[in-house]
């Protein structure tokens, strides 16, 4: 698993961690039941404070992505894959809506937008 922290980003560091761990779970890079690094070793590796990694894990626990067993560590919870996919689709819809709004603002037609999507989809 890779986690890249940007110090220049406006996104708080704990959110950068939760987002990337979630992505890793959704994309199947982290498996159900897999042991995550301890908050202390993660802080050491990423050169951030323990309190930040702790907060990130607490957030992931609250959202049901991981479970922490005291004295043992944190594990990836059993996930409902369909549910996760549903969530992701919703976020894609939101982003597309935003793109549509922006297109209307500058008078881009549906066809032009579709064309753009076709080109981008094949090239990214």
């Amino acid at each position: 698993m890779n986690i890249i922290i940007s110090n220049a980003s406006k996104e708080p560091i704990y959110e950068q961690i939760t987002r990337q761990i979630k992505d890793n779970i959704i994309n199947g890079i982290l498996y159900q039941g897999e042991l995550l690094p301890s908050i202390r070793s993660l802080a050491k590796e990423l050169k951030i404070s323990v309190i930040t990694t702790k907060r990130a894990y607490e957030e992931l626990e609250r959202e049901g992505f991981i479970e922490t067993v005291p004295g043992k560590g944190s594990y990836v919870s059993a996930q409902n894959k369909e549910f996760l996919k549903e969530k992701k689709i919703k976020s894609i819809e939101e982003k597309l809506s935003q793109a549509i709004e922006d297109s209307r603002l500058i008078g881009l037609t549906k066809e032009e937008l579709k064309e753009m999507l076709d080109i981008l989809y094949d090239n990214i």
Partner: protein, 286 residues
């Protein structure tokens, strides 16, 4: 007992300087940075914790015990790194170690040797022949070699190059892998703390400006940039310090949310560094 250090209303009066009712608390497993400009009271606070000078009033508890009544026991469990030299200048690195080691019940020569070679310290050189950086490394090696649970460091990174400062951060991270240990260190080089510290206590003119977890501090404080025109009285009151020039202003606020609501697109909102917070707070609205 999860608290490693608890200070309440600590006061020390000197001619022309007063450490004024300083309170702070550090739990096991975390790193606290003590920041502030020169003369803010950082070293005075640390000397009081170590009982090197007498307090006028207030309480200091380390491992839940009074720092004066239980001084002997407490000091066995503390590793102390001090920015001034407190070694015999004419002894060599190894000779000095042989003087210090017997004081500690849990002294561990293996650990000491590990640090001496890690820091590339010449064993047979006299203390007075060591450079400032080497002295600091030596001081650190001594402090880390008796299995201390609480590491206290006064300006450990001043005078050290970035390479060693980064090495030192690694050492701190390694120590803190043990959740029963705690670290307190004072510095005015805040970039070191920006990374590792969990809590920041900011002292200015002998008073605590804030003592809080670093993430909340960074979230609450922001640097705001914009046109001078939008600065009316109500807006100005939301700032801790403002710096105006011919082309615009830059200011520090701890009311980021209010500013965002009031001024939204009219200003640039950037993350404040600990340096920004320190500089604007100390200078105020000059």
């Amino acid at each position: 007992m999860d608290t490693i250090l608890e200070i309440k209303d600590l006061t020390k009066i000197y001619k022309g300087f007063k450490l004024d009712k300083v309170s702070l608390k550090l739990s096991k497993g975390y790193i606290m940075g003590l920041i502030g400009p020169n003369g803010a009271g950082k070293s005075t606070t640390i000397k009081l914790i170590m009982n090197l000078i007498r307090k006028n009033s207030g309480d200091i508890k380390i491992f839940g015990m009074d720092n004066i009544e239980n001084e002997r026991e407490i000091k066995q469990r503390i590793g102390f790194v001090y920015d001034e030299n407190c070694f015999y200048e004419d002894l060599t690195v190894m000779e000095m170690k042989r003087v210090i080691a017997p004081f500690y019940k849990q002294w561990d020569n293996k650990v000491f040797d590990k640090y001496i070679s890690k820091f590339e310290l010449p064993k047979n050189k006299k203390i007075k022949q060591l450079s400032k950086g080497m002295r600091m490394k030596y001081s650190l090696a001594i402090a880390l070699s008796h299995n201390a649970e609480f590491i206290i460091m006064d300006e450990p990174t001043s005078g050290l190059d970035p390479v060693f400062r980064s090495e030192m951060l690694d050492i701190l991270y390694s120590l803190i892998q043990d959740e029963n240990k705690g670290i307190l260190f004072s510095t005015h080089i805040t970039t070191d703390l920006q990374k590792a510290a969990d809590y920041i206590t900011f002292l200015n003119s002998g008073k605590v400006v804030f003592s809080d977890d670093k993430d909340s501090i960074i979230e609450n404080y922001s640097i705001i940039k914009g046109n001078n025109g939008i600065l009316d009285k109500a807006i100005r009151d939301k700032f801790i310090g403002i710096n105006e020039n011919a082309f615009g202003f830059e200011g520090l606020t701890n009311n980021t949310e209010d500013i965002r609501k009031l001024l939204k697109d009219k200003v640039l909102i950037e993350r404040a560094s600990l340096d920004d917070i320190m500089v604007y707070t100390v200078r105020g609205n000059e």
